[in-house]
Point group: C2
Chain length 243, copies 2
DNA sequence: AATTCTGTTGCTATTATAGCACCATGTTGG
DNA sequence: CCAACATGGTGCTATAATAGCAACAGAATT
């Protein structure tokens, strides 16, 4: 997957971009260098390069925050991959069909899930986008549904030697859950037994590029029914020209 | 603005990222290299580096398109800078107040405007985000309102020696329009006289990080009234802690 | 005033990248 | 069917760009 000559500057540069975006508050260069375990001079130069291009903005205290270029990139990528555009009407219909449940659309990135759409019953539809940050994949049904599409080896590499959220017993427990998800064609994650609260997700696209989910109380009885609903929705979202 | 040692790999890398996002369709490495006037090997390695990090995805034809990492970055940046979150309810109210008009929120990046929110009367509110790509700043009221906050020298550098959309007479004409916008405190761009259609924008934030606009028929008679409405909205969107 | 942060730059050894030449594969068209 | 020409990708080494120490100025803290 990595090219013969991967570009380390680019890798660390986008790590900086990412870190500023996730920080939530303006953050200084040295502080950021510590978080990413980078040499401060290097971080400083990458950050200032990004700032000069307009992807970051330095406020009065010279701290960094997302800049206009980043917003442009965000809008263009959401617009460019028509996925969200195709998904939104379908997701709105899912909400009308099951008004008591949370409806969400998310993508997997490394071991984290990010929600492009996350609407609980009280949320006005126009506030459902970009509402949440990142979330551990292993305790999210969207994450589990997407992990299930990956090779066992890849999953093992991702979690080897680390504590796995939701699976304190270790990798074996996670792989068991993954196999169950593969067999059933959907992921069902129980967040709590009492009160009963769980999440259920199926993937979207071939190969899977995202997943859609229901979340709420008592999904146990009609998991299959909900999975069928989600699978229908998934097919509608999948682009006619397979990419 | 540029650091003592700007990182060229990072600059070209994000240019690639940007180019793939704006392409709209999957695009090959060599094609992209031509568009950016880059050496193909270089483009290839930058693209594959981005793909390995999950920011781009290579489809079956090895063409590149936005990947999960880019969506994560998009969601996090929209979420991270709380601007859109604060803006959405205010924009919804503006739509209710003036149901016949288009309501938009956009940011300026170089000489282009990108809309984070663009809702015409027929658009369901949840489809108003990420709906449009980039647009020339000089023929957009949002672009003009934001350009007006920049130094004259900066604007001149941006457009020197280029054809300026909407101002075929050249830089002098643009600077005149900029001065008018500064004097009045809002930008008013007339797109056509017959049928009458124009756009009106004010900036958001100090320093200006975005602008909000009305667009529609016959904005001429009550430009001042609409500007007042937008200014009130702008103040509500501006974060309590000035950044 | 002294201390310790911070952001930033200058400098040069060192390292990572540039880009040619090349290969494998796929597509077009005679 | 087989040129002819695309394409994505890699190996190699000169070369140019980066790494990171040392240093400086300014803020904040003590």
């Amino acid at each position: 997957m990595l090219p013969a000559q991967p570009n380390q500057s680019l890798i660390d540069g986008v790590r900086c971009l990412q870190a500023v975006a996730t920080a939530g508050v303006p953050i200084g260069g040295r502080e950021l260098a510590r978080r990413l375990e980078m040499e401060p001079t290097r971080a400083n130069r990458l950050l200032k390069t990004l700032a000069a291009q307009g992807f970051l903005h330095q406020d009065g205290d010279r701290k960094y925050q997302p800049g206009a270029g980043m917003h442009v990139l965000a809008a263009q990528s959401l617009h460019g991959s028509g996925m969200l555009q195709r998904a939104l009407p379908v997701l709105a219909r899912l909400r009308r069909r099951r008004p008591a449940l949370i409806v969400a659309l998310g993508v997997l990135w490394h071991d984290q899930v990010s929600y492009l759409y996350h609407a609980d019953p009280q949320t006005p539809p126009h506030q459902a986008i970009g509402r949440l940050g990142a979330y551990p994949a292993s305790i999210s049904s969207i994450g589990m549904a997407l992990l299930a599409t990956r090779d066992d080896a890849e999953i093992r590499d991702l979690y080897r030697g680390r504590i796995i959220p939701g699976h304190p017993e270790g990798l074996g427990s996670l792989m068991g859950a993954i196999r169950t998800a593969r067999r059933r064609g959907f992921a069902h994650v129980v967040e709590s037994e009492n009160p009963p609260h769980s999440t259920l997700a199926v993937t979207v696209g071939v190969p899977a590029e995202a997943a859609i989910a229901f979340a709420g109380h008592s999904l146990f009885p009609d998991a299959e029914t909900l999975a069928v609903l989600l699978r229908q929705a998934s097919l509608e979202i999948t682009p006619p020209t397979t990419g």
